[in-house]
């Protein structure tokens, strides 16, 4: 048989082409700048549960329910567990919050490995891509660490190594995030690399860096980074009308992703806007509604209202367009100037620069159609409470800001233990972190569970 085999040259008979028609290989992908860009597009592109890990509205729903922003009408849906603090390690609601960021982090790490020292990619492009990817990676880790606490720090594509990583400490993750962002700030230019504001520039890196420093209590750094962005002529706030904040052309945007598909726009709009004549699935809580002062235009522009059987129901309405045919197009906002202004305000208050803090608060209030708060003698605590209240109304339903602000314990009055104990039942300090999915712990027994979960 061997003889026969030699006669026919067996290897030839089972030879396949270099790649199947539907796939390309690693070497083919990193062969030139154009195909590398297709992998970069893979990191930003939106599709349900596949592309950009946070665009499926689940982060907004989960954190909105966990905080005091939203309630869910269907108290039997698994999202209800976020509201009632009855999550378990088996809850299906947490699976995507954990898994999708890691899918994306793999793609980022893969691109970083593919462009680093690759002679076929120009140095400037490699630098640009490296900066962008590090912003993306830092963003994912920032949200992982704020939802779950310390998480495995995956920085390569080596699955054998990565599969056995335990959770790193919160500090280690934050250190890594800061290093990534500092590299990104150094690598990226002030200009956006492509049309619109859909790929990070230097200010995008700074926006996240500012947020990170704010969360870590490094007030001066938070202040400085936010300040850099606010003074940049690229961005406007006061001139952007409330109803234009989330549009594709928004000048307030620091980073926003195009998410429109052929038939729909943001998942937020899809999820929150009720069908006509129907009660919304997610209702804005009375606690949040009560925070809007009389005349606050944000209540009119950003909170929807529908009436069913003579009862009024309120729902999140920052994103207004469900279907692709509705104009204008909305992009999914990641960072905007309003948040930076409030970040600077909070940092300033902590730095005892209360005047600056109040000025910033008033910029935000003014656009909302509210009276400015007077610059009279206020304690630092009062100013901080005012910042937190403004954050609550300005940044509601955006990127878990409210839930994370409550957990940060900025002031006693605005801390989770005060607010959630008052408003809701079932809250425990251990509710601050979501459980690590048990399925993941089964696959990696080095992953320790958060306190309060079995």
């Amino acid at each position: 048989m061997l003889t026969l085999c030699q006669l026919f040259s067996c290897e030839k008979l089972i030879e396949l082409d270099g790649n199947p028609p539907t796939y390309i290989t690693n070497q083919q992908l990193f062969a030139d700048s154009a195909t590398v860009m297709s992998a970069v597009a893979g990191v930003y592109s939106y599709s349900q549960s596949r592309g950009f890990g946070f665009s499926d509205a689940n982060l907004t729903i989960a954190t909105g329910l966990s905080s005091d922003e939203l309630s869910v009408v269907d108290n039997n849906s698994y999202f209800a567990q976020f509201y009632s603090y009855t999550l378990t390690p088996w809850s299906s609601g947490i699976i995507g919050l954990w898994n999708y960021p890691y899918q994306a982090i793999y793609r980022v790490n893969d691109i970083l490995e593919g462009v680093t020292g690759n002679p076929r990619i120009s140095e400037s492009l490699a630098k640009q891509i490296t900066g962008e990817m590090k912003v993306v990676r830092a963003l994912y880790y920032f949200y992982l660490v704020n939802q779950f606490g310390g998480v495995p720090l995956v920085t390569s594509t080596d699955f054998e190594h990565n599969a056995k990583l335990p959770r790193s400490s919160v500090e280690t993750i934050y250190t890594y995030i800061r290093t990534d962002l500092q590299d990104a700030v150094n690598n990226l230019s002030a200009d956006y690399p492509s049309a619109g504001r859909v790929r990070p520039n230097r200010y995008t890196a700074k926006a996240l860096l500012s947020k990170v420093n704010l969360y870590l209590g490094d007030w001066q750094m938070a202040y400085d980074e936010a300040d850099d962005i606010i003074v940049s002529p690229l961005y406007s706030f006061a001139d952007v009308p409330l109803r234009a904040v989330f549009l594709e052309e928004s000048e307030e945007a620091i980073w926003q992703l195009p998410v429109k598909t052929s038939y729909r726009q943001t998942d937020e709009a899809q999820t929150f806007i009720p069908n006509s004549g129907a009660v919304p699935r997610y209702l804005v809580t009375s606690f949040l509604l009560d925070q809007f002062e009389n005349g606050d235009q944000r209540l009119l522009e950003w909170i929807g209202e529908t009436t069913v059987n003579d009862t009024h129901y309120r729902y999140p309405y920052k994103y207004k367009n469900k279907s692709a045919s509705e104009v204008p197009t909305e992009n999914y906002m990641i960072f905007r100037l309003g948040e930076m202004i409030l970040t600077r305000a909070e940092a300033a208050a902590h730095l005892n620069n209360l005047d600056q803090a109040i000025k910033d608060i008033n910029v935000v209030r003014k656009r909302a159609g509210l009276l400015e708060i007077p610059m009279d003698e206020r304690s630092q605590e009062d100013v901080l409470d005012a910042v937190m209240k403004e954050r609550q109304t300005e940044l509601c339903f955006e990127w878990g800001n409210r839930w994370f602000d409550l957990k940060r314990n900025v002031t006693d009055a605005s801390s989770a233990s005060t607010v959630l104990h008052t408003h809701k039942s079932g809250y425990k300090p251990t509710s601050n972190l979501y459980p690590i999915p048990q399925a993941q712990r089964d696959l990696n027994n080095l992953l320790e569970q958060n306190k309060g979960y079995n």
Partner: protein
């Protein structure tokens, strides 16, 4: 080996016709024998074959011939060389003259005679159409209507072989008047010829573990999927139906699970290799649909990790199958090398029989209903349960959607008296199926044909206009040349299946609240909210308006050519092509959706599986003294491909455009292409000595494109032996009861290549379903890079004992086997932090399956008017993870334990419902009671311990076949016992008692209400606001949701009546019968609520009870 080579090469070169240049002239002195023979070949144009060993360059001769015939020339040349020649057509074989027991034919000196004879059966009745053949010659004839035959031109003393189907061959020396020759019927159980890999063999001399299921057994079962007909029939073969949807998949597994799982949740299920008429079935047993339909929408997939859906075998009519052989051990499967690790299923289709052209028509109509329907609560019971749940939670039901804790529309808003029995709507319908099949067959002794056509319509007992319609065409043509040397067999089958189903929905809606407001209004429009409150359910009637059409076209063609080069030596080729194509369309019309955001969309799929298979083979049968040799050498070239194309279209302006992609304003295509190329050489040698001792070796070397360079080739082989001790004189003398006894054993290797194309590279794909990002089409990584994988290897031991008693009226088979599969080639699960759920590669783990199989076949009564046969089989398989280095640090650490079955369940030990708290209680690893056991294995600090395993403990079947005069009765019972999920697992799978979904009425009065109660279920919970639900996750992972699941199912009852021949002849019918076949008629089980074959669920579309009434006529 060299002989083979020479023959092969000579054959390849030989095209030249015999010019019959019979005048050979050679005048040479002291030339080599080889030279002289070469000269004969050159001058005559005849082909000469010889083994290089028997003629050396040292043999020199003098030749002096002038214008002589080839016979004379060879006589002269071979004189005094100890060699002889045989002539067949234009081929001449030269062999050593003493090695051949039979005499050379071409002597020409003996007188030619005319012979006559009469062939009789055991009761001395004439046998019509028996074959009478010259053993090493070309002459052949058949007996006439009186059983007589005539043959002329036969030499006295030449050996004749007389054969007839079902009878043993008889060899006899030719003489003028042979008188009456009686043939002895073969013992059906012992001498049955069964199909094996690359051939067939008598069971008597088999050393491999092979089981066959005959057409008779298959036809009695009113099933549409031929795989369903195997359930319980074969020891060692597990058959798992996925659900009751017509056309849905049926999984097979031979002798247990050999590989580790891909996920920690679902049970992996190895599938055997499927071969139809020698050609690998292109789709194998993988579902053929790309799009979702009712078969995929079932919440239950048998608990196994294979995707379920529509079965490719649905395009094959069980009535066209002659036999199905299951090859189980290495002796039988090694010849399939790397593809045989999970066993091989050989399906052989029907072929024509020589004789009058016959028409065989069978028509039946079937009535289907749920085999084991489940009863749910009525409205009063349901509402009572809900109210009690609120009371238990200390909450008040409210009609305010803003009242998170209390909002209960079913209690506060919906009509409290409305009652809809959803289970009855969804699966309560009795359906009517139709099956028609006609066969035309016949032929002459040299050419036979068979063509058949079938039509089967299966309706869903799901409401709506859904059905599965199948049309099949089968044809077989066989021809043998008049000299019996050239044989041709052609099979061409075409099947068409049209499945109409719904896009999603399915039986899960059985648990909708019984007082749910109407989902459809008087005008037939769908209702999406009730008084403004969204009905948080999938609108069941909306799902019925989303049709999915699947059309499956299945072609199986095979061509078998063979040519007998020399007596016993046959060169042949099997070539075949199998193509299975599914074309699908799925419509999601706007009118089936909530009008406030309706988006008409459609999806289209085209899934093509193809396999091309070419297998040249050389068979050689020869005799040495008392020895009988069978040798086979062959090669395989195979190419299998899967091309799946799918496109989704959105933005249709009008629902009526949904039939075409053209109307979509946006399309999202996606594509999958897999190509597998395979090459192999294989050989088998079998030696039977004195009808007593059997020795068999086989092997295969194969190469697969699924592996990276340098890892493509592997070697597999087996050796087996048998001893028919009943042939020993001492045993014959001392144990007269024993009519047959065989001890056989085999050991060998097979491999697994896991059929995954291209995976040794790091691949990236364009993802469909997304718009380009700034005009760039996004690319994502498809897999993790892991190039270093290769075959998994299975080592199998098989020891069997066969006993026949009382003249084989009672036959027993006992088999012990032990399979060990190492170098596991699997999709290894990975934690999500790696970015991927799995990586494909080898795992240094060893899984063992060992077990016992027993089969008993018995003829209980055999009288003229009454006969009764029984068969019984039972299998005990034990699975064990033998070895797994680094298990503790692998991703499998929480799932497997060395020394335990791979279906082990890690869970909590269950204490019961605490009578005081009313909540489920468990034991922690130290034996203390707790409501909150810790997740994870005991060895990593958790409280989970092994609580059982889900392997089948034993399974089998019992068949009784009775006939009395014109009546026939066949009763087949199938049984199985395992530890499996019970219905309590399903109670909490999507919801919980007290929540807003319906429950089986079984739970009434069985839940905790007051302190001191001892109950099965814990207290009710009204919603996630309830403080009682935290015990649910541990409960569903505890012993409480598993239990013994033993059942005995009256799988098939077939009652038939054959009309008296006289009556039929008047209307031109030769034979005819009417029958009633029943499937899944009655089940005896300790399994509660639902079907024991669908354990752990009560919301899957139930398996069907079928009663078929039919008539069968032969013209």
């Amino acid at each position: 080996m060299r002989l083979t080579l020479i023959i092969l090469i000579t054959t390849l070169l030989q095209v030249r016709a015999t010019a019959l240049a019979q005048h050979i002239t050679i005048h040479k002195k002291d030339v080599t024998l080889k030279y002289a023979l070469k000269e004969v070949r050159r001058q005559s144009g005849f082909n000469l074959f010889y083994d290089g060993k028997i003629i050396t360059d040292k043999q020199k001769i003098d030749v002096d011939i002038d214008h002589v015939t080839i016979n004379q020339a060879l006589e002269v040349i071979l004189r005094n060389t100890g060699l002889k020649y045989e002539m067949k057509g234009s081929n001449i074989a030269i062999t050593k003259s003493q090695t051949r027991p039979s005499k050379p034919i071409i002597l020409g000196e003996m007188a030619q005679i005319v012979i006559t004879g009469l062939v009789l059966d055991e009761s001395r009745k004439p046998l019509v159409d028996a074959t009478v053949q010259v053993k090493h010659g070309e002459k052949v004839t058949k007996t006439n209507a009186d059983g007589r035959f005539y043959l002329d031109g036969i030499r006295d003393g030449e050996t004749l072989v007389i054969s007839f189907v079902g009878y043993g061959n008889r060899e006899i020396s030719a003489a003028k008047d042979l008188g009456a020759i009686q043939l002895i019927p073969l013992d059906k159980t012992v001498d049955e010829v069964q199909v094996i890999g690359y051939g067939s063999e008598s069971k008597r001399f088999s050393v491999g573990a092979v089981s066959s299921v005959s057409a008779e057994t298959i036809e009695r079962q009113p099933v549409t999927n031929p795989l369903s007909a195997l359930q319980g029939q074969v020891a060692g073969l597990a058959v798992t139906p996925s659900n009751g949807v017509p056309g849905s998949t049926v999984m097979l597994q031979v002798r247990g699970q050999n590989t580790l799982g891909t996920t920690l949740q679902a049970k992996p299920y190895d599938q055997p290799l499927f071969i139809i008429d020698g050609v690998p079935f292109a789709p194998q047993n993988v579902n053929i649909n790309l799009l979702n339909n009712l078969a995929t929408a079932q919440s239950y997939n048998g608990g196994i990790s294979q995707p379920t859906g529509l079965s490719p075998f649905n395009s094959i009519n069980p009535k066209d199958i002659e036999s199905i052989s299951i090859l189980k051990d290495a002796a039988a499967t090694s010849i399939y090398g790397s593809q045989g690790a999970n066993g091989v299923v050989l399906i052989t289709t029907k072929k024509g029989q020589a004789g009058e052209t016959k028409l065989d028509v069978s028509v039946n109509t079937q009535f289907n209903s749920a085999a084991k329907p489940v009863r749910f609560l009525n409205t009063q019971q349901y509402l009572q349960l809900r109210r009690e749940a609120y009371t238990a939670d200390g909450l008040s039901p409210s009609d305010d959607p803003g009242d998170y804790n209390g909002f209960a529309p079913d209690l506060m808003l919906y009509d409290q008296d409305k009652y809809t029995d959803w289970a009855a709507i969804i699966a309560g319908k009795m359906t009517n199926n139709t099956d028609v099949h006609a066969t035309l067959s016949g032929g002459s002794p040299s050419t036979t044909f068979l063509i058949s056509g079938g039509y089967t319509q299966s309706n869903y007992n799901y409401p709506g206009n859904f059905s599965d319609k199948r049309m099949t065409f089968h044809s077989a043509l066989n021809n043998t040349s008049s000299d019996q040397r050239f044989k041709l067999g052609l099979v061409a089958d075409y099947g068409y299946d049209r499945n109409t189903s719904a896009r999603y929905g399915g039986a899960q809606s059985m648990v909708l609240p019984p007082n749910l407001p109407d989902l459809i209004d008087d005008s037939g429009a769908l209702v999406w909210n009730y008084k403004g409150i969204p009905l948080n359910v999938e609108n069941f009637y909306g799902s019925l308006m989303r049709p999915v059409y699947l059309q499956n076209y299945n072609f199986n063609g095979s061509l078998h050519l063979s040519y007998t080069l020399l007596p016993g030596l046959t060169l042949g080729t099997n070539a075949g092509y199998s193509r299975n194509n599914s074309i699908e369309r799925s419509e999601n019309p706007a009118r089936s959706q909530d009008p406030t955001f309706a988006e008409a969309s459609a999806a289209f799929g085209d899934n093509v599986n193809q396999s091309i298979n070419i297998e040249p083979q050389l068979n050689y049968e020869f005799y040495t003294g008392k020895g009988e040799w069978t040798a086979l050498v062959g090669g395989t070239y195979r190419k299998m491909s899967n091309d799946a194309y799918q496109v989704e279209g959105y933005g249709y302006a009008n629902d009526n455009f949904l039939g075409s992609i053209i109307g979509a304003s946006t399309t999202y295509p996606s594509e999958r292409k897999n190509l597998f190329k395979y090459i192999a050489g294989f050989a088998r040698l079998k030696y039977i000595h004195d009808h007593k001792y059997i020795l068999e070796v086989s092997g295969r070397r194969d190469g697969s494109s699924n592996f990276g360079p340098g890892r493509q080739f592997g070697n597999f082989g087996s050796a087996g032996g048998g001893w028919i001790f009943s042939e020993e004189a001492a045993i014959k003398k001392n144990l007269p009861l024993l009519s047959y006894g065989k001890l056989s054993a085999s050991y060998g290797t097979t491999g697994g290549d896991a059929s995954k194309a291209y995976s040794y590279q790091a691949l990236y794909q364009n993802i469909s379903g997304v718009l380009p990002f700034q005009n760039v089409r996004p690319t994502y990584a498809y897999n993790l890079y892991n190039p270093n994988f290769s075959w998994s290897t299975k080592r199998s031991l098989n020891v069997a004992m066969d006993i026949g008693l009382y003249g084989n009226a009672l036959n027993l088979n006992a088999t012990y086997y032990r399979n060990r599969q190492g170098d596991q080639l699997v999709d290894m699960p990975l934690p999500a932090q790696t970015g991927f759920p799995v990586v494909f590669g080898n795992l240094d783990a060893l899984v063992q399956n060992q077990g016992w199989e027993f089969t008993i076949e018995s003829t209980n009564v055999k009288k003229e008017n009454f006969s009764w046969n029984s068969t019984f089989n039972i299998t005990f398989n034990r699975n064990k993870l033998l070895d797994f280095p680094d298990l503790a640090s692998s991703s499998y650490a929480s799932k497997y334990i060395i020394g335990q079955p791979t279906s082990i369940i890690m869970g909590y030990r269950y204490k019961g419902v605490n009578p005081e708290t009313g909540l489920y209680e468990f034991y922690d690893k130290d034996g203390n009671a707790t409501h909150t056991p810790k997740a994870g294995n005991a060895n990593t600090g958790g409280d989970q311990v092994p609580i059982g395993h889900m392997d089948v403990k034993y399974m089998g079947g019992l068949a009784n076949n009775l006939s009395y005069k014109n009546w026939g009765l066949f009763i087949f019972c199938q049984f199985s016992s395992s530890y499996s999920p019970n219905y309590l697992a399903a109670l909490y799978s999507t919801d919980y008692p007290g929540g807003p979904t319906n429950q089986p009425s079984e739970i009434l009065g069985r839940y905790w209400k007051n302190p001191g109660d001892h109950s099965l279920l814990q207290r009710l919970g009204s919603s996630y606001a309830s403080g009682s639900l935290y015990t649910i996750p541990p409960f569903t992972q505890s012993e409480a949701v598993y239990g013994d699941n033993t059942y005995l199912r009256i799988k098939t009852v077939s009652l038939s009546y054959t009309f008296p021949e006289k009556l039929l002849q008047k209307i031109g019918v030769s034979t005819g019968n009417i029958y009633m076949n029943g499937q899944n008629l009655l089940t005896f089980t300790n399994y509660k609520v639902g079907d024991p074959e669908q354990p752990g669920t009560f919301t899957a579309l139930p398996l069907q009870r079928i009663v078929a009434l039919g008539v069968n006529l032969k013209f």
